[in-house]
Amino acid sequence: MMAFDKVEELQAVVLAAGASSPLEELISTPKSLLSVGRYPLIYYPLKWLQNNGFRRVLLVVSESTHQEISVAVSATSEIDIEIDYVTVPDDDDFGTADSIRTLHNKQKLHSDLLIIPCDIICDLNLQDVANVFRIHDASLAAVYHKTMSNENVIPGTKTKKQHDREIIGLEPVSNRLILSTSEADIDEYLEIRRYLLTRYPRISLRASLEDCHIYLLKKWVLDYLLADPNIGTVRSELIPKLIKKQHQSRSIDFELSNGRFAPSEQGHHADTDHLNRIAAEDNLDVLAREMSFFTDHNGDMEDPYFGNSIRCFAYVAPDESTCLRVKSVASFCEVNRQASKILQQLHPAKPGETKQTLSQIYTSANVHGKALVGQDSLIGEMTKIGEKVSVKRSVIGRNCTIGERSKITMSVIMDDVVIGEGCHIQGSIICSQAHIKLNAELKDCLVGQGYEVSEGSKFANDTLTDEDRLIEI
């Protein structure tokens, strides 16, 4: 640890302690170990950080999954980054903010934070995000990406689509994050305070952007987390609070910190008060800004940033980049479909190396000469693929056996799955150890771990699980 002479500008924290998995009905694997492409999900953020020059990462895992994750990560030879595991209790109420507090208590934190979830798959240039953070000396820089289109059919039982887009208000030039709310929270009208409109005469309201849960946070935010133990999660409590509080002007902070209105016994105000005092900027920074000609807006004589010491900015990822969170069945399917492309991006071909490192088919896999494997498919180790099998836009895991004449399209097949002869599998997710017998046809289905699909059966838009087994869990 002491090997670094310099303190890093940013410390990367990957939060992998979360319990919920999009496929929790089907398979008991922790979310961070769900296999995407041919790697566990956790591989992607780690690889991304590595590609962006991080040499060290703090990985927050829950006590129960620590072992499993560390084994899986060390098994992945391509991760060459120092991983500092931090365990947190397996408590549902133990939020992400609590995880950050744990990190602090263990004295792991000493600079600004880059917080990323374990389920993010992206190829952004982190430099661009950091620049937003640096240019404005921001308290928060959050990454937003265009929401995934919902055109594809989602496998499994159909559920009603929910209308819960996030609405964010951005200043169009600087991308300052002025407000954020969810469509579900607004009835018919969005209320914006008058003075916000005066300060930010142009507000671009975006409903198509999704929070990628990648946050760059100033170190003082940590102090705030420590001061206010009520904040449980980063995403749903801390970030909205920061966004809301940023518009308070400094004069009040000043007044408060002057002790004129000393914090009364109401903890609530002590807290507001606290945030402002904690966020107070370095006097030299303020002085430098006051003496410079810089301003972030025009049309009035106000201080830059209107004297706000808390400033939140958004980085809107370009449309062509990939930035997906595996948070639902739909996104799980989507990333798997894009897996081969994403892997290509994560492994930039080094000089002297052929693309062989990224072969779609492991050499240990046994693919029959007369089988058709599409360019956009991945086949795992030791998998046997029989004669005249066709695999298109699918990912097949390890140790699978696929019988002759089966057709697999747009599907995800996990490890140790046995598929009989003549099966048609389309747009489905088949979990580990499942057994699909002769001539079964599955369309847009979810098949649970160890489930057996009987011979010749046909299913469409169904969730097939061993219910007894689930109840046991």
């Binding site: 607004i186 008058r194 003075y195 309201l205 009364s264 049309g299």
Partner: protein
């Protein structure tokens, strides 16, 4: 490109050419409101002189410049005057039309009460042949509309439902040209310049935007940086749409209506943003003032007086924006300081100073006058030593020697003011002619009631005139109290009436903006030290007065102290005062009660004993209240600081003499008494005593510190910003030390007692 497509564009091109062939414009030369009354009693607003040139001349010249071929002037009141003006005009009149191919047509309709009526009339008369520009007769602009017209035509060629393009200018939110009445906030789709929501309401602190506009699209923009130019490019569909819906009274109604019915009718409104150029409407006297200054300071180039636009008068342009025509008599020492426009044949007397003003033709101004920010129309006569500040004097006014017109006076036509008169600010005077018009024109009054603006009244005045005078004023608010409850924002009538006060944008936003930002947090927790400071202090003062009343009730009328507690608690929530401040204020109030009682009963306190007795009597009465508030150490400490604040500050305040002095003298007794009554615990007193004096000052309530100055004076407020000078603090600290000295004996006694207690305990 396929042959078919080519053909199509060819045909469209032809159509576009046709439409372009005759570009029409409609000028609504009636404002349908009464912002300029009484100046509009004899002249339509369109003919009011703006920098010595009728307002409509600017509009006409602008439209001709844009390339309009046919201008329809729609008028109602004083139509004859507008017609006469146009007919006689060398450029636009029937005999004129020298260089231009612009046809000006005057349409009169006596029974129109709104712009909507006018457009319905136009529809009925079938006067519109193609796209047209809709403006009002008081528009001053120099913008290039060609891009907007081209954009509009481009849209029309592909989308027949695009009925109107609203032209807006990009300006900062606090731009002076943004008249409070004309604030617009547009919600737009910037990808296709479509207006999705139109808002023209500044009265609320929060602005509401419909979310449904986001249903069909991913991004919209809310723009508060646009100035409504009041130039609308309309398609031929607009007049029929007005005819279809009689609810459309103004263009704004129309825009709103179209947007609401968008889904049903499919019509759309677009906007076009101009990045440069000048546009403004003289929609009220404030804008009149502003636009006049802008013209003089050449913002509206080429409409500068010396360039002969728009009326062809010849001026010499001198530095500091002074315009002087050839025939003018300037006496020795007459000073045209800056931003002055003089009319022809003016006579300016000795040592007269004029600045920021427009003087009409044939005006005579005497010696030693000062005229600042004022507008004198033609044929005015001003005596000597007259002072006029921000006034409007219509044609033919006379002001006698040594009269003074305070800010905001408006003299209507031919009003004569005698010598040595002092006109109070904001008065509007009318003469006999105007009054005749008001009396004789009941139908005009009808119209007023219909538009809901019949809120003027006239009162006879004197002002040493040789003729009868009336003052013309807004009726007091009580008359239209029915909608008072709905009005939360500024009253535009009131605002435009007070035209000489810079537009109170602040009224709409800032003063409480800071408190606002925290409001959400405080909605549930009303005791809010985090509230904006101004807010808090104002509130605290009000709150203090309420506490005072409640406690007075307890002491004088034997109200149940519990009720007083209830009252205080409820007003605490209403005013958003923190608990600690409540603690301080309650004690403060109790200490001031004897003083007020003494005053009312004309009783002089002669000794400190007397004062002490009085205070203890009152404290005994309000004891339950004290017990309720001073339960724990923290609140007791608050009380103690307040007591200290009071004693320290009281001492040298003349108005509290001699009560304050006696009270301070009896400080130790008071401490003892409060200690005995268990109001102040000993630890608290000791803690207070041991704490450094300079820390105490921070605990004092800011608004009492400068109480010696009058309650409304700014100095009292100054303190809130924390700029108590070091000297102030030092003197306070000295006083605190003195006070500590006074109670030293008592404290020492306390300490000894404490030690005894300790030793007792040790023995046990």
């Amino acid at each position: 490109m396929s042959a078919q497509a080519k053909k199509k564009t060819g045909r469209e091109g032809k159509e576009a050419f046709k439409a372009e062939d005759v570009l029409q414009a409609v000028i609504i030369a009636d404002s349908f409101n009464e912002r300029f009354k009484p100046l509009t009693l004899q002249q339509p607003r369109a003919l009011l002189p703006l920098a010595n040139c009728p307002a409509i001349a600017y509009t006409l010249e602008f439209l001709a410049d844009v390339g309009v071929h046919e201008i329809l002037i729609f008028c109602r009141v004083h139509a004859d005057k507008i017609r006469a003006y146009i007919d006689a005009h060398p450029k636009w009149g029937k005999k004129g039309r020298r260089h231009r191919s612009v046809v000006v047509q005057v349409i009169v309709s006596e029974d129109c009460y709104s712009m909507g009526d006018a457009l319905r009339e136009i529809d009925a008369k079938n006067l519109i042949r193609g796209d047209f520009i809709l403006v009002q007769g008081d528009l001053v602009a120099n913008v290039d509309l060609q891009p907007a017209l081209a954009a509009h035509r481009g849209r029309r060629s592909t989308d027949k439902n695009s009925v109107m393009t609203v032209v807006v200018r990009h300006v900062a939110p606090r731009h002076p040209a943004r008249c409070l009445e004309d604030q617009i906030i547009l919600t737009v789709d910037s990808t296709n310049q479509r207006v999705l929501h139109f808002q023209k309401d500044v009265s609320h602190k929060r602005t509401r935007f419909p979310v449904n506009v986001l249903e069909e699209r991913d991004a919209v923009e809310i723009r508060n940086d646009l100035l409504d130019c009041h130039i609308s490019i309309c398609s031929t569909l607009v007049p029929p749409l007005f005819s279809d819906n009689f609810d459309y009274l103004t263009r704004d109604d129309f825009v709103r209506g179209i947007l609401i019915n968008e889904e049903i009718l499919g019509n759309t409104i677009h906007y076009h943003v101009l990045e440069s150029g000048y546009t403004a409407r003289i929609s009220n006297l404030h804008m009149y003032d502003l636009v006049s200054r802008d013209i003089i300071s050449r913002w509206v180039f080429p409409f500068c007086p010396d360039l002969g636009f728009p009326d062809g008068s010849a001026y010499n342009y001198k530095r500091h924006h002074v315009y002087v025509p050839r025939r003018v008599v300037l006496a020795r020492g007459a000073e045209l300081e800056e931003n002055v426009l003089l009319g022809r044949d003016c006579v300016i007397g000795n040592n007269t100073k004029i600045r920021n003003s427009v003087i009409g033709d044939n005006c005579k101004i005497g010696d030693n006058c000062v005229i600042d920010g004022s507008y004198l129309w033609d044929n005015c006569e001003i005596g000597s030593k007259v002072r006029i500040e921000s006034g409007v004097l219509a044609s033919g006014c006379r002001v006698g020697d040594e009269s003074q017109l305070e800010r905001g006076c408006v003299l209507s036509y031919n009003v004569h003011i005698g010598s040595g008169q002092q006109l109070r600010g904001g008065v509007r005077l009318i003469g006999e002619e105007d009054n005749q018009i008001l009396v004789e024109k009941p139908e005009d009054q009808d119209m007023d009631t219909e538009t809901g603006l019949d809120n003027f009244e006239t009162l006879p005045e004197d002002y040493g005139s040789d003729q009868k005078l009336w003052s013309f004023q807004l009726k007091p608010d009580g008359d239209n109290d029915e909608d008072e409850s709905e009005k939360t924002g500024p009253d535009f009538n009131q605002v435009s009436w007070n035209w000489w006060i810079p537009p109170a944008l602040e009224l709409a936003y800032s003063p409480e903006e800071e408190s606002d930002s925290d409001e959400e947090e405080c909605e549930d927790f009303t005791d809010a030290p985090a509230l904006g400071v101004h807010h808090a202090v104002g509130n605290a003062w009000q709150f203090y007065l309420e506490i005072f009343d409640s406690l007075m009730g307890v002491t004088n009328e034997d109200v149940n102290p519990e009720n007083a507690v209830l009252e205080i608690n409820s007003s605490k929530h209403a005013y958003g005062i923190s608990m600690s401040d409540v603690n301080k204020l309650v004690l403060r109030a109790v200490l001031e009660i004897p003083e007020l009682r003494g005053k009312t009963s004309k009783k002089e306190f002669s000794s400190s004993n007397e004062v002490h007795n009085e205070v203890t009597n009152i404290v005994k009465k309000v004891l339950p209240v004290f017990r309720n508030y001073y339960r724990n150490a923290e609140s007791q400490l608050d009380a103690l600081f307040s007591l200290e604040d009071c004693l320290v500050n009281y001492i040298d305040m003349t108005k509290h003499q001699p009560y304050g002095a006696h009270l301070a003298d009896s400080a130790m007794k008071l401490f003892h008494f409060l200690y005995e009554q268990d109001i102040l615990g000993e630890e608290v007193i000791l803690k207070w005593y041991r704490q450094a004096s300079n820390k105490h000052v921070e605990q004092f309530l800011p608004f009492f510190l400068h109480e010696s100055s009058s309650p409304t004076s700014p100095s009292r407020r100054r303190h809130q910003s924390g700029d108590l000078t070091d000297e102030d603090v030092q003197s306070l600290i000295k006083k605190i030390d003195a006070l500590k000295k006074k109670v030293e004996k008592f404290v020492v006694w306390l300490m000894e007692a404490e030690e005894e207690d300790d030793s007792d305990q040790n023995e046990e």
